[in-house]
Symmetry: C2
Subunit: 394 residues, 2 copies
């Protein structure tokens, strides 16, 4: 029997705890169908109803304390060495288990910077401190940010296989789009055909269905997290997509640019913008490697665009993808307030990033591309086939 | 144009804030596709990517501060009077907006007791306090537990219509089950047919698909949050379901008991158990009314069962249903540690509860039923058709 993703991820934890010299990682959750700690689905493919403690030690032991009714559902998943259960309240069994482990540091899921490591709610944190009052353990709590950034970022074989398949299906749907796209059809019509294709390939949305794909028929559409409209495709103008699918829980995230007209009719300002975006991404892909910090790669692409006389793009050059299209962790972004310290985190082998940016033309709206890359030991490899030319529809 | 559920819910907020004398309710979120505050979907049908502040005042004003890329998606939803946007960081615009409102109390989403009111993460809480440092406002934070308990619990007309439809479809599928159930088929086979029916009615799962419906073919199956197995239905034995569907975002949650054999063959101990469970639910339904506390209703049913010589059921008599099968808020439960103070909350008109309990027989496993009720001004009305007799398959 092959390992599940959650078995693979669970096995990664101990090594990461050893690297960081953290004794215990505690995932502390309840009613996860209401408030889902994003760390949970990495290591357990099940919802938990009652207050539950998942405990991973540096020595490689993995224990769970869950309500009686939850235990049967998680036992067959074979991700814990030990499953303890309770009926009326978890506090005494939790306290005695932690006393037995006696960790000198306990990583719990809060983080200012990495949303994927910030699944612990304020109420649950208060409860945890209360259950462990009169013990030294609340003073040993630390943020699990580094644990989760590494765990989530270091993709296992099964995770990579799924991301690659998500990318492949996304590209097949873009290939199909070449066949049906024409002048005079609405963004909504195009959107519907993309969703029929997604159904055909049996994949889900990498983000909210209402703006996946984002379909932007030039020149007057503001890009962003808004949905398709009755706006029509136009001769001599651009069409932009931001599209991602979810295959067996893992995402792709790719932007493509189409042009309605023959290559000979392409306005110079579009060509210049397209080449700038494409080559900025190319330059970033040639520069990126393990050990660099996120902002260093962003700065290279940002400067590239600025030097060519364009305004800078108002987002990060790249985010990690995985279970989510925005997977958290190290960010290829500028040191802006809203990014916290994620741009200062280190790029690691096995991370999967987007490389994406836009520039704005005078008369044709924005030109924006996005590729998906895997960090290798020496640099990166493209998971998507990079878009080298506009896709001409005529 | 009719109102959306989110417009109805948004309009309910001001009155609740006035009742509780709270100046401002602040929903403070980011990357809601990763960590979803359960309060968000009540008032906004969209995900938010960057740090976002949704602000509701006692006077009825509703403002949002969101990232530029998020604004376009939420404007058409018409749930805010004002949408402010930012690019690099939210802190200065947030601070100045709150200074302008100058609230003497700010309800934020943390709660030890009500999971539906505990959507604020520890990291986001730290960020909020940091952005408002050097102002008096962090000292004015209070828990929004009472706001959310009332807002979530007081179902609007559109919400009730959806719950009623979810209940109706659930019952239609149980009716269909009468036609195909027979001795010697597996729980997994039955589960698949339920899911085909759900597809036919185009409804989703009220909880994790893997144990919805829970299908328990007696006598040796432990009930709980576990999925169907190869276990077969048996002549002279019980079959139990716990089943809920989601219709346009709203849930049902119903348990039913079938028996394989003619009514004349029914063992006395099953009849006695069934009547006890049915009549305990009936007694609770006749007792429940607005103004009572949750534990008072639970105690009535619990005593009823104990007096008849059965062990007490190891869960609450009833939880609210709504967007979630376990919708949080006032609970018809005993004062056990894991329920916090929810059993001491007050039952209100417009709440929708389950009434559910089980007793254990010596030779036939558990007998468990669950009905859905709406609290009215004077008592309650059943939304499900209460199960008065075992459903005999022979």
């Amino acid at each position: 029997m092959t390992s599940t993703v959650q078995q693979e991820k669970s096995r990664q934890v101990a090594e990461i705890l050893r690297e960081l010299d953290i004794d215990l990682w505690l995932v502390w959750v309840r009613e996860t169908s209401q408030v889902a700690d994003p760390a949970l689905e990495l290591v357990l493919d099940a919802d938990l109803v009652w207050e539950s403690a998942l405990m991973y030690t540096k020595d490689g032991t993995r224990s769970a304390i869950v309500g009686t009714f939850d235990a049967e559902g998680i036992r067959p998943l074979a991700v814990f060495d030990e499953i303890l259960t309770y009926d009326e309240g978890i506090s005494s069994i939790l306290k005695s288990k932690i006393q037995k482990l006696n960790p000198s540091s306990i990583a719990i899921n809060y983080s200012r910077n990495n949303v994927a490591a910030d699944g612990l709610t304020v109420g649950m944190y208060e409860i945890l401190k209360d259950y462990l009052r009169d013990t030294p353990y609340p003073n040993r709590f630390i943020s699990s940010e580094d644990v989760i950034t590494r765990l989530r970022g270091r993709k296992t074989t099964s995770e990579l296989d799924r991301i690659k398949m998500a990318v492949e299906i996304t590209e097949k749907i873009f290939d199909y789009a070449k066949k049906f796209l024409r002048v005079g059809i609405s963004e909504l019509y195009i959107y519907d055909i993309f969703h029929q294709q997604m159904e055909k390939y049996d994949v889900g949305n990498a983000w909210s269905a209402d703006h996946n794909p984002a379909v932007d028929a030039g020149p007057n559409k503001q890009f962003g997290h808004s949905g398709p409209t009755e706006n029509l495709t136009k001769e001599g103008h651009l069409l932009h997509f931001d599209f991602g699918v979810k295959y067996q829980g893992y995402c792709s995230d790719i932007q493509r640019m189409f042009f309605f007209g023959a290559p000979s009719t392409i306005p110079e300002e579009i060509t210049e913008a397209f080449v700038t975006v494409r080559d900025a991404i190319k330059a970033a892909s040639e520069f990126i490697k393990p050990g660099l910090k996120g902002y260093e790669v962003d700065a290279l692409a940002r400067d590239y665009v600025l030097e060519r006389g364009y305004d800078e793009y108002k987002h990060a050059l790249g985010h990690q993808i995985g279970r989510k299209a925005h997977d958290g962790g190290t960010l290829l972004g500028p040191k802006w307030e809203r990014y916290g310290d994620l741009p200062e985190q280190v790029i690691e082998t096995g991370n999967v990033f987007t490389l994406e940016l836009y520039v704005t033309t005078e008369n044709y709206g924005q030109v924006s591309l996005e590729e998906d890359i895997l960090i290798t030991k020496t640099g990166c490899q493209f998971l998507s086939r990079p878009q080298n030319d506009l896709i001409y529809i005529y």
